[in-house]
Amino acid sequence: MNREVKIKNMKLAALNNAVYIFGILIIAVFSVMSPYFFTVTNATSILRASTLMLSIGIGMTFALIVGELDLSVGANCRFSASVCALLMVNYKWNPYLCMIMMPILGGLVGLVNGILVTRVKLNAWLVTLSMKLALVGIVVKLTNTVAINMPQEVLQFRNFKIFGLSSFIVFILVVMLIMQFVLKYTTFGRKIVAVGSNPNAASKLGLSVKNYKLAAFTISGIFAGLGGMLICINLGSVTRELGDGYEFTAVAAIVLGGVSLAGGEGSVFPKAFIGVLILTMIENGLTMIGADIYVFQIAKALIIFVMMYIDSKKNKI
């Protein structure tokens, strides 16, 4: 009996840590295939490339944990960034104010999503999907799909370095740790998890399920807007591709990292972070070895399939 139980436990342990094993495997494979992959410079550029997805992923983690899906994050990111950038460039508003306004504007969009879902009681998928369409429409109307270039005040954050990393990278990493802290060590975070895990039970304990869902949507929106801010600093312009399809890429990344689609399970760090990192690493590595651009999508899809398969195995054992 003991031997069989031991084997089962070992399998379970391996499956539980599959994402880490997988990450190491990817690093190993790309390092062998390209001499430039396993370098400090490349590590920095992977981190830099992951900031947008990480920001959106942090917000999305909260939405998924509370048991909802926010499909408007990509459009929200573009919307917040574009509106504030227009105010900054065309109407000469204070650039610093405009940057702070991006996450706030994103948060407002999230709040509207939340109100529509929890108070008007509409289906979250449809609400956020139509929100996405509306936001994209507004942005196209306002900008005529012309890219907006950032002034020097914004770009300076990119050149300001902390420990050799651009300040905005350090900023999002710190924010990530703070959000993980909020999720794990505050009553607010604990209650968010409880609501996602079993909303019926949570309501019987006197928790307001509606309000925690509302909060989760708002957080999701704030981080979409924050992602817009980061991309403004990183790329120096708001382009028309910004945030396109990011709702699904972000979901794929954090689910890959181990955040449950069913709600109630997940963390910002390490789970969401690892997922985002792995997905970015794959893109980076494929570029390094000069793979066909179309292979990217297929590779990403395959990897997500494999990870989901492993996840389903875990539940069956």
């Binding site: 139980v5 802290f181 409880a194 039970a201 304990l205 006197g206």
Partner: protein, 504 residues
């Protein structure tokens, strides 16, 4: 060589992480036999049933059916062996008709040129339904019929598949009295038809009534086998529990205590009608009524989980004065154990310690959550409630029913409530755990906690309650004091056979 029985399961083993769920289980049965399988939660009886039904796959062991070695790996194999499982909660498609549900495996036989021939389907459905004496319209949509009728669908489905072995998994747990009687009659008929019936339950009286032979399971092993003619209830109880079980009775008198909760004129048409009552400190008040009488809804309305049309709730505050209180506030201050721990009791994918501390997070918060304190507290509760788990990190979903119920209780007790609403404190829980939970409830009451208890079990009301309020059609129709409580009286009152003085 000994004579082979029609069905034999020999030396079955099943391992779950940390548990040996089936340990060398051998169970045999012959045609025309009703075999009872009894044991406490976690004894392995459900695992055995699920293995037979192909819902899980055993790790070791062999089945012989009709003398042939057979492998059951999934539901299809099980169906081929002509085994049918009647689930505790009927598995039905609630938006389809009764007839479609009955013939769900054979719908293609009723299809002509790609279309289902409904006329023939309905005719055959009523044929099978009348065979088991069920008076259901085959055209009815399943979501409109009762739980008992849904069960009839599953039984009819088993007949359609011509099952030789029919498994019943605690079928009576949510049935009314009439439905229960009807079920027993059908089981009798199945026996007449020379089928094998295996009946899982933890109610001894049911076993004594309908089974020919009884297998007792404990901790994954078969610990006893009795022919029902030569076994007494007491022997069975001892066999199931592994020891003698004490009956807990609440004996203290609480007539002089002050009122802590008062409900006035509570209405939520049509399920709750003009409800007035008060609970005293340290009193255990029973709400007794049939399923669907509105007893659960009364509590839900008091706690504003449903929106009452009218009604005022008063609670005794720190100064000893009855004060008006809102449902939400009351829900925060009191403890509420719901009837279905899976649906709205526990956070299944969370560890025990998080479940236990969830009701009073504030207590563990010193600017941030003090995780160590939470864990220590959980360990203390695990000890106090005798929860069987290796440590506080065990996920609640892996616990057996009785331990899950104890976690629910532990969480609520930890809140130190002065009012405690308990809906079905011991549903799906074995006799040992039941006795333990009863003890805890009485202890709580002795410490001055007012308890409002809803229970479908007569014994529970008889032994624990200081007063019982009878609920019928959402109204409180009578009040029975402790000295007057008797089985017959409670039964009669809730069905409206006997009229008592109207509750003032």
């Amino acid at each position: 060589m000994e004579k082979r029985m029609y069905f034999e399961a020999r030396n079955l083993h099943k391992y779950y992480p940390g548990v040996h769920a089936l340990n060398n289980v051998t169970i045999v049965a012959d045609k025309g036999e009703v075999l009872g399988i009894i044991g406490i939660n976690g004894a392995g009886k459900s695992t055995f049933m699920n293995a037979l039904a192909g819902e899980i796959c055993i790790d070791k062991g062999t089945y012989y059916i009709d003398g042939k070695e057979t492998i059951i790996r999934n539901q299809n194999d099980s169906g081929k062996c002509r085994i049918a499982l009647i689930h505790q909660e009927a598995v039905v498609f609630k938006d389809m008709t009764v007839a479609e549900n009955i013939f769900i495996y054979n719908l293609n036989k009723y299809t002509k040129a790609g279309r289902i021939q409904y006329k023939r389907l309905f005719e055959d459905a009523s044929k099978y339904l009348s065979m088991i004496g069920a008076d259901i319209d085959p055209k009815e949509i399943v979501k409109n019929i009762t739980i008992g009728e849904k069960q009839m669908i599953e039984i009819a489905r088993a007949l359609v598949r011509d099952a030789e072995i029919v498994l019943f998994d605690e079928p009576t747990s949510s049935l009314s009295l009439d439905e229960k009687e009807n079920l027993f009659r059908i089981i009798g008929e199945l026996k007449q038809k020379n089928k094998i019936v295996m009946y899982i339950t933890h109610f001894i009286d049911e076993i004594m009534r309908i089974c020919d032979r009884t297998v007792v399971m404990r901790d994954g092993c078969v610990t006893g086998e009795f022919l029902n003619e030569d076994v007494t209830t007491k022997e069975l109880v001892t066999g199931i529990a592994g020891q003698e079980v004490e009956t807990i009775v609440n004996a203290t008198d609480k007539r002089d205590k002050e009122i802590v909760l008062k409900v006035e004129n509570l209405n939520c048409y049509p399920v709750v009608r003009n409800v007035n009552f008060a609970v005293k400190k340290g009193e255990i008040l029973g709400l007794w009524g049939l399923l669907g009488s509105g007893r659960t809804e009364i509590v839900r309305n008091i706690l504003a989980l449903d929106k009452p049309d009218s009604g005022i709730v008063y609670k005794r505050n720190n100064k000893g004065i009855l004060e008006k209180i809102s449902g939400h506030k009351l829900l925060e201050e009191c403890a509420y154990v719901t009837e279905d721990r899976h649906l709205d009791g526990l956070f299944m994918q969370m560890p025990i310690w998080k479940n236990i501390s969830m009701a009073n997070l504030k207590k563990f918060e010193h600017f941030i959550m003090d995780e160590q304190k939470e864990r220590d507290y959980a360990l203390q509760m695990i000890n106090e409630m005798q929860i069987k788990a290796s440590d506080e990190n065990v996920l609640v979903e892996t616990l057996s029913g009785r331990n899950q119920q104890k976690v629910v209780m532990a969480r609520s007790i930890g809140k130190n409530p002065d009012i405690f609403f308990i809906d079905e404190p011991t549903r799906g829980v074995d006799i040992n755990a039941k006795s333990f939970i009863h003890k805890k409830i009485v202890e709580l009451a002795e410490c001055g906690c007012a308890i409002v208890m809803i229970s479908s079990e007569l014994e529970e009301n008889l032994n624990l309650c200081d007063r019982v309020l009878i609920v019928r059609n959402g109204e409180i129709v009578a009040e029975v004091a402790k000295k007057d409580i008797s089985k017959q009286k409670l039964m009669d009152l809730c069905q409206g056979i006997r009229e008592e003085v109207k509750y003032e």
